[in-house]
């Protein structure tokens, strides 16, 4: 079997776009997940009566079901009750649903790890609950949970591969498309693997460094 270098090269522009889509989906989903998680963490910290339970339910539902099902539900099932959402938007929504839950858990654990004495001394100098969260709890919880947050950002970026299932033209969808169109399986698998190695392996190695560096999250040097 021959490796058709020319063909592989000719697909590179399309794959470059695909990498762009992967990053776009991943980064947007990370940002929206973080927003959801911050709101949820605030609800958990302030122990807002009913919402607190709803957050708990949401976290359990999202963490104990596959992203693929969440995605299919939004993309295939919602249209039948009149809600039509594009593949790209479905991807963002599903990944936010999943990512928001994971990040909520991490922030909650981070908040729980902030010593009680910090909260007490914050209250003792007369901070409001909101000021306490903003100036005392979140900065410390953020640092404490930074390695776990970063690990989950990488996890979410890897999960973008799943959204290929709803025709979002990221790396895997593009690969499958080219294989179906031209039967150049060999070349396309090589390009796909190469791109994934270039994209994900450095991230994974970086994650190791972050985890080692920030094992004991602290301020100062």
């Amino acid at each position: 079997m021959n490796f058709d270098v020319d063909f592989a090269l000719s697909t590179l522009p399309a794959f470059l776009v695909a990498v762009g889509v992967t990053l776009q989906v991943g980064l947007i989903a990370i940002a929206t997940s973080l927003c959801v998680a911050l709101i949820n963490a605030a609800i958990a910290v302030f122990e807002v009566p009913v919402l607190k339970r709803l957050v708990r339910l949401y976290v359990e539902l999202a963490r104990n079901t596959p992203l693929l099902i969440q995605l299919f539900f939004i993309y295939f099932a919602l249209p039948s009750i009149g809600i039509r959402i594009s593949g790209f938007a479905s991807a963002i929504i599903a990944m936010t649903f999943l990512g928001g839950a994971y990040l909520t858990e991490i922030l909650r654990a981070g908040v729980a790890a902030v010593p009680k004495s910090q909260i007490e001394s914050g209250l003792s100098i007369g901070l409001s609950r909101w000021q306490l969260l903003r100036h005392v709890i979140l900065p410390q919880a953020g640092i404490l949970s930074l390695p776990a947050l970063f690990a989950n950002f990488v996890f979410l970026l890897k999960e973008t591969t799943v959204v290929s299932a709803v025709a979002v033209p990221e790396i895997l969808y593009t690969t499958k498309n080219y294989i179906a169109l031209y039967y150049k399986t060999y070349e396309m698998l090589a390009v796909m693997t190469g791109l994934c190695v270039l994209l994900f392996v450095p991230l994974s190695l970086l994650l190791r460094v972050v985890e080692r560096r920030l094992q004991h999250g602290q301020f100062g040097s």
Binding site: N64, I69, K158, E159, T161, V162, L189, M192, V201, S204
Partner: protein, 219 residues
């Protein structure tokens, strides 16, 4: 609607059960292989043989860094053309999930073994235990409490990730569901059912993991 929905699920039950069997089959096999492989990985890394560590570390990085779906495609489309092995989707999914699972459980086992004081190893050696006795009687039993909760978490992730098998054409529960939707257009019902199915399998496991973690972190 509600009664017709339940009726549809009732009528489709035999089909759905076949699919559920296939999905749980993939998951269960992957869980078994991941457990055995993970124990082997953890023990091998614990031996401190440098060249072996390097090989295992490369394996670990490869399966942790590259998404599972990429591995699925590589094995499913790649094995036939690179090696001429045509492997059924079901077994391809079991293989890839196991290899990925081992990289996850392996790290769990390694971490648990590393947390055991060095003196335990020496005390075991000092009474003349060989490696099988040392690991089987002294080190792994002590690591068991520490590694069980995170192991269970890996199992739930394996079950969730087994859903990707549908993307390489395995006729498991999702595919069966899609076939029913094609006939009946009941997509909300079916996807709702699938959502609930995975939740009902995974939630008890993660809850158990949490309970064990809390109970054992004190002793």
């Amino acid at each position: 609607m509600a009664s017709s929905g339940l009726e549809l699920l009732w009528v489709s039950a035999p089909q759905l059960l076949t699919g559920i069997g296939r999905t749980l089959g993939i998951s269960l096999l992957a869980i078994v292989f991941s457990s055995i492989g993970g124990l082997a990985y953890g023990v091998l890394r614990n031996l401190g043989i440098r060249w072996l560590d390097t090989i295992l570390l490369i394996y670990l990085e490869a399966f942790r860094a590259i998404p599972v779906l990429v591995w699925l495609y590589l094995f499913f489309f790649g094995l036939p053309i690179f090696f001429g092995w045509s492997i059924p989707g079901f077994w391809c999914a079991v293989l890839v999930l196991s290899l990925w699972g081992i990289s996850e459980t392996g790290e769990v086992v390694r971490g648990a073994l590393r947390s055991i004081p060095r003196g335990q190893r020496e005390a075991g050696l000092a009474i003349g235990l060989g490696l099988p006795g040392l690991y089987g009687r002294v080190l792994l039993p002590q690591a068991l409490q520490r590694m069980t909760p995170p192991m269970i978490n890996v199992f739930t992730r394996l079950i969730k990730t087994s859903s990707l098998a549908v993307l390489i054409g395995v006729v498991e529960v999702i595919k069966i569901g899609q076939q029913i939707i094609e006939r009946t257009y009941e997509s909300v019902l079916i996807y709702g059912f699938l959502f609930l199915f995975f939740f009902l399998v995974c939630y008890p496991l993660s809850a158990a993991s949490r309970v064990l973690e809390r109970r054992w972190s004190h002793s």
